[in-house]
């Protein structure tokens, strides 16, 4: 594998330039590789949940309740005798799905809003960003809480709530570089060539601001997973018995002094994922920051 990347680095600079810069940024920031590997393992576990799970995650078995870790139940069982490991593995699916989809929605919608505001400027810009600032002034957990409390807990509503809280930061992060990029001569050249506004934004501005958005995406994915867990913890998440990490922490919390492993397993899982995503984000940020600024020096 490393031989392949070595060859690519030696090849004449072409289409894979961005990739090489990314590799360089990750190499100077080795923890990014750790983060990426860890996250890849978590994603693999989530995908392979049916294979990795040793028991049915929602089947209750009262005879085996609150067992400690053992050969049969790797991480023990909860108050209903359900296997923690199996629930953790299936919970990863839901946590990643809710976090991933909501951040994807927030990324698309937020970037679009921010780009339109920055590109057209003027009153439209002021109006849009005022609305974003109002949304931004709510802590994401509070806003998510309000939405779920009003609309009821379900996977769809959770995704909507988390996406809503994440749209304003994406709008902000997309708007700032748009404002600076649109002043550059090549955007003026686009206008002189008669390109339409959507084309200029999609083809000429978006690729130049995308790295910033991507960094934000990796960091906010961590936040989304946390928010989802928090909402589940206070009982506004996906309804039981569907396993989610936040819900598992809450279930285990009742007996935390006697059976600490119930809450510990999902807590550690969340910790690991959030850490991993932040490590990736650090590497991505290095990729975005110095390289683009050095562009002019050529």
């Amino acid at each position: 594998m490393s031989a392949v990347t070595g060859d690519m680095a030696a090849a004449p600079p072409r289409a894979n330039r961005a990739l090489r810069q990314l590799l360089a940024a990750f190499n100077t920031n080795k923890t990014s590789w750790v983060g990426l590997a860890t996250f890849a393992v978590v994603v693999a576990i989530a995908i392979l949940a049916p294979v990795l799970a040793t028991h049915d995650p929602i089947e209750q078995n009262i005879l085996e309740k609150l067992k400690g870790p053992s050969a049969e139940f790797i991480l023990g069982t909860d108050g209903f005798g359900r296997d923690i490991w199996s629930r953790l593995v299936y919970g990863a699916r839901l946590s990643l799905w809710i976090g991933g989809v909501s951040i994807l929605i927030a990324m698309v919608v937020g970037s679009l809003i921010g780009m339109v505001a920055g590109y057209f400027g003027g009153r439209l810009d002021i109006a849009i960003m005022q609305v974003m600032d109002v949304l931004l002034s709510f802590p994401s957990l509070i806003l998510g809480l309000m939405v779920v409390a009003m609309m009821g807990p379900s996977v769809g509503n959770l995704i909507f709530a988390i996406a809503l809280t994440a749209i304003p930061p994406f709008a902000r992060i997309a708007r700032a570089p748009t404002v600076s990029v649109k002043e550059r001569d090549y955007i003026e050249a686009c206008r002189a060539l008669g390109y339409s506004h959507p084309r200029i934004m999609a083809v000429h501005i978006l690729p130049n601001i995308f790295p910033e958005i991507l960094v934000m995406g990796s960091l906010w994915l961590a936040t989304a997973i946390r928010v989802e867990a928090s909402l589940s913890f206070i009982g506004l998440g996906v309804r039981p018995p569907t396993p989610t990490w936040g819900g598992m922490i809450r279930e285990g919390f009742e007996n935390i002094l006697d059976t600490w492993w119930l809450s510990m397993a999902p807590s550690v899982a969340i910790l690991v994922v959030v850490f991993a995503l932040n490590m990736i984000g650090d590497g991505l940020r290095d990729f975005v920051d110095p390289k683009l600024k050095g562009e002019r020096g050529g």
Binding site: R184, A189, P207
Partner: protein
């Protein structure tokens, strides 16, 4: 000579920018970037627009392209009233008038392959598709003196001069009749300047291109252009054909400009006329003739009255009280 209908005719072009300055009590300041500018570019001609930094020459180039919307004035391109066009018609006009920028590092999208950057205008305007498109990209690169492989590369892999060639090729891709060249060689090394100027001159002959050549370099303008207008603080002070106008400048400002540009002959004896003082701000131009604070011939009248435009024959004209009789 002047009888031939010009390709481009600009009349009374005006653009004021308003900016708020000062804290905590902001004042609205009006910057008179263009204050009634008239000039014309004939078919096949390179017309120079000369002046110091901030005199509004670049604004003029952008205003006639409607990259900046002018406040007032008329711009006629052939039989088209440019300032009256709606969006559709303006798009069609974009094919006819193109622009080449000063800074070759800022004028190309760093994330876009050169080949794509050149193909995009043709695709947008429906000029070519598929294989024919690739063929035209290759022809464009060849025309500006770049190898076909350049299409597969990114702008950052090229030098300033090569980038400027790419910028020129992009402007040519839609087959314009007039190119606004906004200081196209000012950012380049002197040795590269000559190459790019020769390229532009060659295109003028081969394609019958006309140029509006915005520059502060009198030497370059003298070599490249057939006519020139000198701007000072948003107004044209003198206009005429080249080289006559630089040989015998009428306006004191043109005289000082010419005296300030070096003569490539070590034995030539020149008396350097010093221009006194800074360029006054375009937001607060001096009353009367804008040039009077720096003019060696300034009279009482120059301090109160802006000189009217006077035609001096042979296509020349000047705005100066010295030529009133």
């Amino acid at each position: 000579m002047t009888q031939a209908a010009p390709l481009l005719q600009v009349e009374g072009l005006r653009k004021f920018f308003t900016v708020k300055r000062g804290f905590p009590n902001p004042r609205t300041v009006t910057v008179r970037a263009l204050d009634g500018v008239d000039f014309g570019v004939r078919e096949g001609e390179a017309f120079g627009l000369v002046g110091e930094s901030g005199c509004g020459k670049s604004t003029a180039g952008r205003a006639l392209l409607r990259l900046i919307e002018p406040d007032e004035g008329r711009v006629r391109f052939r039989d088209t009233d440019v300032l009256a066009l709606d969006r559709q018609a303006l798009r069609a006009l974009r094919r006819k008038i193109q622009i080449v920028f000063q800074d070759p590092y800022a004028s190309l999208n760093p994330k876009r392959l050169v080949g794509k950057a050149l193909a995009e205008p043709m695709r947008v305007h429906g000029l070519a598709e598929g294989r024919a498109l690739a063929e035209r990209v290759r022809a464009l690169l060849d025309e500006v003196g770049l190898p076909p492989e350049a299409a597969e590369r990114y702008p950052h892999e090229f030098s300033g001069g090569q980038r400027q060639r790419i910028g020129i090729a992009r402007a040519l891709s839609v087959e314009p009749e007039l190119v606004v060249a906004d200081e196209p060689v000012s950012a380049l090394d002197v040795s590269i300047q000559a190459q790019v100027l020769l390229l532009l001159r060659g295109l003028q002959d081969k394609r019958g291109l006309s140029y509006l050549f915005v520059s502060h370099d009198l030497g370059v303008v003298r070599w490249f252009c057939q006519g020139v207008a000198v701007m000072y603080l948003g107004r044209i002070v003198e206009r005429g054909p080249l080289p006559q106008m630089f040989d015998e400048p009428l306006h004191p400002y043109t005289q000082t400009l010419r005296a300030a540009s070096p003569v490539p002959d070590p034995r030539a004896r020149v008396t350097m006329v010093r221009i006194e003082g800074e360029v006054p701000s375009a937001s607060a131009p001096p009353p009367g003739c804008h040039f009077h604070p720096r003019c060696p011939h300034a009279t009482e009248r120059c301090r109160v009255e802006y000189p009217a435009w006077k035609e001096m024959g042979q296509g020349r004209g000047v705005a100066c009280h010295l030529y009133d009789r």
